[in-house]
Subunit: 219 residues, 2 copies
């Protein structure tokens, strides 16, 4: 299948086109830094937006959840979805209220998700999801048994129709406002890991993995 | 109008009902800690999910943006929307892959947004939005003029039909897995403010406000 030309009429940014990104590698970089998406679907004309974790393997986004969930059941039938990933980078504080903004990077993917049923692909997808969130964890823990695999629904969404949007850098004020007597700049915000908290039921001799002490989502 | 009984059929959690929260004050606490929502709407049967900032005033959520945006234009006409706010609290690392999870708090609000047109209400809404993100900023900067107010669309969404979901605490493993030789626990994650970065075009004598040095979203 030929690559869909980006942007499509549905993903082309009308507002603030200078903030648009249609480059696949740049989009993957955003997807790889995040691990939580908001997935939108429609039921009886009403949109629903649900947060869930995801992983990426090549040009496929994997989403998992309970096989029983209403949302995932709907998607198995090929319901149109929108998956959005947003990274918050900072508050942009201008001299005028009007020019205040947020530094962020976001990706929007439109498409129809397919159910990943084939056992080997399902296992590989779950591994990709796990590696996406915490590399190396999969090999350190008990892997899924048959019952658990059956209870887990995995969905794949091809990254075909997408766009990204970002804002970076300092505030941009109107020329006449630069003399306004207030501070202006950016307050950077970052999702940071704190000190790992051991399970109260942890057995003796289980050391905190080194990877957790330096955990960061930055690429 | 009588308070809608929570949950409705559309907001009642079917999956993991023990994680459900329908208490209004608890929901407000989540909304007040966040400032970025994902708003879902439908166009030609396709759902779209867009990140945007918000503020809260009583039982009303305010969302703003350019008056020209396709999304906000749609909502002015009373399009059904879903607004979802998610706070990420940590990675839950169990002994089995299957019991891995994420600690989070999320709120889902369903409804129809109305356009805030009346100038005084619009200004109050914008102030609420600004105060929600950075208390005190409104009084420190140049406030909106007539042209800017016209360029800004403000939407109000009554917080009537909603639900929240949260997961807290350590991993829960199957009894037979507690002896599995791996570390288990929680890696707390938090959106934290870094050192403020002054605008390169800042004029001399504009000191960084004290409020930015101790900025935190925690209530």
């Amino acid at each position: 299948m030929p690559e869909t030309q980006m942007p499509t009429a549905r993903t082309r940014l009308v507002r603030e086109p200078h903030r648009a990104v249609y480059d696949r590698e740049a989009v993957y970089k955003i997807l790889d830094e995040g691990f939580l998406c908001h997935i939108g679907f429609v039921k009886d004309g009403q949109p629903f937006v649900i947060p869930t974790s995801y992983g990426r393997k090549g040009d496929c986004l994997f989403i998992h959840g309970s096989a029983a969930s209403r949302m995932l059941r709907g998607m198995k039938e090929g319901l149109p979805v929108c998956v959005t990933v947003t990274l918050i980078d900072g508050l942009v504080l201008a001299r005028s209220i009007f020019n205040h903004s947020i530094n962020y990077r976001s990706v929007v993917i439109l498409g129809k998700a397919r159910s990943v049923e084939e056992p080997e692909e399902k296992l590989a997808a779950l591994r990709a999801l796990s590696e996406h969130i915490l590399p190396g964890r999969w090999d350190d823990v008990r892997q899924p048994n048959e019952r658990e695999l059956k209870l887990t629904a995995v969905l794949g969404l091809q990254i075909e129709e997408f766009s990204a949007k970002m804002r970076t850098g300092p505030p941009l004020d109107d020329p006449e406002d630069y003399s306004f007597p207030t501070w202006a700049g950016v307050l950077p915000l970052e999702l940071t890991a704190q000190k790992p908290v051991s399970d109260p039921n942890l057995q003796p001799g289980r050391e905190t993995p080194e990877s957790l002490r330096s955990y960061s989502r930055k690429g």
